[in-house]
Subunit: 202 residues, 2 copies
Amino acid sequence: MQTRQSGPVGRPRGFDADQALERAMLVFWEHGYEGASLAALTGAMGISTTSMYAAFGNKEELFRKALERYTEGPSAYLTGALGQPTALGAAAAVLAGVVRTTTRPAGPHGCMGVQGALATGDPGRGVRDLLAAWRDDGSSRLRERFQQAVDDGDLPPETDPGLLARYVTTLAFGIAVQAAGGVGGDELQAMADAALRNWPPA
Amino acid sequence: MQTRQSGPVGRPRGFDADQALERAMLVFWEHGYEGASLAALTGAMGISTTSMYAAFGNKEELFRKALERYTEGPSAYLTGALGQPTALGAAAAVLAGVVRTTTRPAGPHGCMGVQGALATGDPGRGVRDLLAAWRDDGSSRLRERFQQAVDDGDLPPETDPGLLARYVTTLAFGIAVQAAGGVGGDELQAMADAALRNWPPA
DNA sequence: GCATTTCTGTATCGATCGATGCGGAACGAG
DNA sequence: CTCGTTCCGCATCGATCGATACAGAAATGC
């Protein structure tokens, strides 16, 4: 019984799956799940529908993988922000990351986790719920970070970490909505600075 | 020359246009512009596609009229909030109105002005821009109210009314996003209360 | 009564939606 | 080479998209 060491048999795929997923992610980010047609996706990916289905399953699975890529790419600032030494530093890093990511001139405006599928028809319900869970996960990670700050004495002991996390995520998603509508990054960053001038808010 | 007193000639329409528009507004609110199909709209309105086109023009015009109805209906709290005697009172009334409207158990969760068309495909660009302007108008009205508060001495003279308005609208839209995802009204209201405990934030 | 105007129900339009079938092309294994 | 496997290009699937054509029904004006 010998472990197979050789590569996979058959014709190798003729495109870079990572690059194709990156381009699909950008289309979903800009146009949302329902607004991104298969033709627009495969056109941007540079492959045929057949290749897309073979490599990614279907449109919904493609979106799920694109969201993972978004989380580890444009949205990776969150993980970095949670590593900041103070709760205030973490909150400021989160908001600065949101402003930067959602108003970057080179990329789509807004946040894929917000505008990807905020309200949909029936066929998009799965994706809509997925994004709701994605947003809730961000809030939870922030809450855990604030809980740790309370335990460390960085935040007053009477602080409610859940309330604080909800506050920061509310600002973050509000920034994302306005960035999607074309509000500039400078103005949003100035607003975020002002919001964090009183800390903690409770 | 006599003024025409009689009713319009021809067969009168057999449905209540106001009620039909109300129901269309609810469908757009819940599913967004792209997620609301003509079949879903006319089904909820209780009329045929022919009647809908005759009465409202097309899908985009129906959405525009539904948005007007939303502005004068579920979103009317904004006008009332601007009439509050103080800037803080206005901000608190706006946020309380948003929380109440976006988490009402009887109606769709979230805000039609946010989730109606935050990111769309090409055919929805007009509606997307319409909503961006709608949101910006809300921010402008709030800015004018804060400017008046500065003039009245209700807010410190060095206050930036635009920044303050951006802060409140950011909270409002962030609340709407989380309400769309199922976050409860009590938690959002508690967060809004905490956010306004420091006022003005700048 | 009749003519005119408007609304409604049915049936359907072309376009696009997401998703597949199929045959040939391109690889590794033997 | 031949064989087995996988991928790709093309054509196309049924369903649904938003939007209309058409004929009959229901009102007013004469």
